[in-house]
């Protein structure tokens, strides 16, 4: 099943920087789609189009179509808040909100109007368990979200997204600020989570891309150079440029 169908998506920022050029891609549900490539290639812009976080940026022109479950989400009349609840996002630096651990996880639900304490409690616990963080923090849920390690903070951010029970989880270089142990935890977590969610991951290095990819998309200077399933991409890339990047000839 296709979760996203992107057709001819082009974006130009107000400084006349063309960030994406004619992107065509289909994103499969219940799989990990990896977006990789050198910095400035348009990965982050692409992710921020999918949950319309790009509305905040100075976009000059945006053309094309992004279908999410068959609905065009670039439609200006679309309920962006609802969309963002269905498409969760984890950022490259852990950004706990300036609230307690509990409130961080419950934040999205409370904003969505959930007031029932019991439901919130069980949702928070479920989300923290799913993010394999519960055992480490269950006795200090009222501590600040900053009072835990970087790796824990990043899993907290993931739990915060999971609490909303989204359909899609997007992660923009989620482990770039983490140590190898925490990175391994997040990676094994993602492999489990793909049973239930559609995952789009922009890793910060090729190794992670190769480890995680069910499908892989190589972005270079705003262009989608190659899109294939993970094995094909990393074992026998078709395009010369993806080949050069994967083998480390540039980047």
């Amino acid at each position: 099943m296709k979760k996203f169908s992107v057709r001819d998506l082009s974006i130009r920022y107000s400084d006349d920087n063309e960030s994406l050029r004619k992107i065509n891609i289909e994103i499969e549900a219940n799989a990990i789609t990896v977006l990789f490539g050198p910095a400035g290639g348009g990965k982050s812009t692409f992710l921020r189009v999918l949950n319309r976080l790009n509305d905040l940026a100075d976009v000059k022109t945006m053309t094309g179509e992004v279908l999410f479950n068959g609905v065009n989400i670039l439609d200006p009349k679309l309920d962006v808040i609802d969309l963002r609840r269905k498409i969760g996002m984890v950022f490259s630096r852990p950004v706990p909100l300036p609230l307690s651990i509990y409130e961080n996880v419950a934040y999205g639900l409370i904003m969505a109007g959930e007031r029932n304490k019991k439901k919130l409690d069980s949702a928070v616990e479920a989300a923290l368990r799913q993010a394999v963080l519960w055992d480490e923090v269950y006795d200090r849920l009222s501590d600040s979200g900053f009072a835990i390690s970087g790796g824990q903070q990043q899993r907290l951010c993931l739990a915060r997204v999971l609490a909303l029970e989204p359909e899609v989880i997007m992660l923009d270089e989620p482990t770039s600020a983490l140590d190898p142990v925490s990175t391994a935890k997040i990676e094994s977590l993602l492999t489990e989570l793909k049973e239930k969610y559609t995952i789009i991951l922009a890793p910060h290095n090729v190794q992670q891309a190769a480890r995680m990819a069910d499908y892989a998309a190589f972005f270079l200077m705003g262009e989608l150079v190659e899109f294939a399933n993970g094995k094909d991409m990393f074992l026998m890339p078709k395009d010369k440029r993806s080949q050069d990047y994967i083998t480390g000839r540039f980047g």
Partner: protein, 303 residues
């Protein structure tokens, strides 16, 4: 060889600059200390020479030897607190608007305008107060005189707003954009993100802004002297705010010129100065206590 000769020279320059900086630093501490000593030396004898019962009576009439400072303290508190209540919502609202809501071109116009407003001499604002605000309130609220505590509070509020806006806006601006994005990406509306994430994250800076605003209102003399009616009486009842008052600062400013040095009146004016000093000290200590508490928490978390 050449390098060997250079090294001591560099060290001498270093020592000279370090000592100059040290002198500058210590001298500002010294000046504050000297001001305090002078205030205490001139003001404390009042406690000995003027009977306490007179000091804490409700009549300020120095010519008759009546030095009741209660009406002055009351006037200062009334005007300062009301001014803060007026300035706070407007100041924070404007800061949030400039930093979070306004499109960039409005932001780029508004911010310098606010900063220019903060620099207008208060006597000019007092002048506008006398010519515009005072007659307006007299007619609009149907009062015997427009020179009231309320007029002073409104004017002081106007004076404090640019300070609050400017500092609070800087605080909001330093909130990492990641917070806003995280809030929005969780499906919070813009307003929920501002209120639930951005403002709490900038709490310390906003508090500093409020304290600076209160300090500005507390220390303001000229404008307040021009529009509050200068009547050192203890107003009674709920409509006290619509009656003339006189603040501590205005009293010192208007009477210091005509007292005999060393007289009781002179000493009491300095005593009022000491009280003002204590008031602003309390405000500053509160502000820094709150922000160090937060900083300590941050340090504990980072370590």
């Amino acid at each position: 060889m050449k390098e060997n000769r250079m090294a001591p020279k560099k060290q001498i320059g270093d020592t000279v600059i370090t000592s100059i900086i040290k002198v500058c630093g210590y001298s500002s501490i010294l000046f504050v200390g000297l001001i305090l000593v002078f205030l205490l030396k001139e003001g404390l004898p009042a406690l000995k020479d003027v009977p306490i019962t007179s000091l804490f009576s409700i009549r300020w009439y120095p010519i008759e030897g009546l030095f009741g400072i209660l009406p002055l303290i009351f006037g200062t508190l009334l005007v300062t607190i009301s001014a803060t209540l007026i300035a706070l919502p407007f100041g924070l609202g404007t800061a949030i608007f400039i930093s979070e809501v306004a499109p960039r071109w409005i932001k780029e116009i508004l911010k310098p305008i606010v900063e220019i407003l903060a620099g207008i001499p208060s006597v000019v604002l007092g002048f506008i107060g006398i010519l515009v605000i005072v007659p307006f309130f007299r007619k609009f609220l149907d009062l015997p005189t427009g020179l009231t505590a309320f007029t002073g509070a409104v004017l002081l509020g106007l004076i404090a707003i640019p300070t609050i806006v400017s500092v609070a806006e800087d605080a909001l601006n330093t909130v990492p954009p990641g917070y806003r994005q995280a809030g929005l990406a969780l499906g919070a509306t813009r307003w929920q993100t501002i209120w639930g994430v951005t403002v709490p994250a900038a709490k310390t800076g906003i508090l500093t802004a409020v304290m600076l605003g209160i300090g500005r209102a507390l220390g303001e003399t000229m404008a307040v002297m021009m529009v509050t009616g200068n009547a050192p009486v203890l107003p009674s009842g709920l409509n006290a705010i619509f009656e003339p008052v006189r603040t501590m600062t205005a009293t010192i400013a208007s009477e210091m010129g005509e007292v005999a040095t060393g007289s009781q009146h002179y000493q009491v004016l300095f005593l009022i100065g000491i009280l003002l000093f204590l008031l602003s000290l309390v405000i500053n200590i509160t502000a820094s206590a709150v922000s160090t508490k937060q900083r300590k928490r941050a340090e504990r978390i980072l370590s």
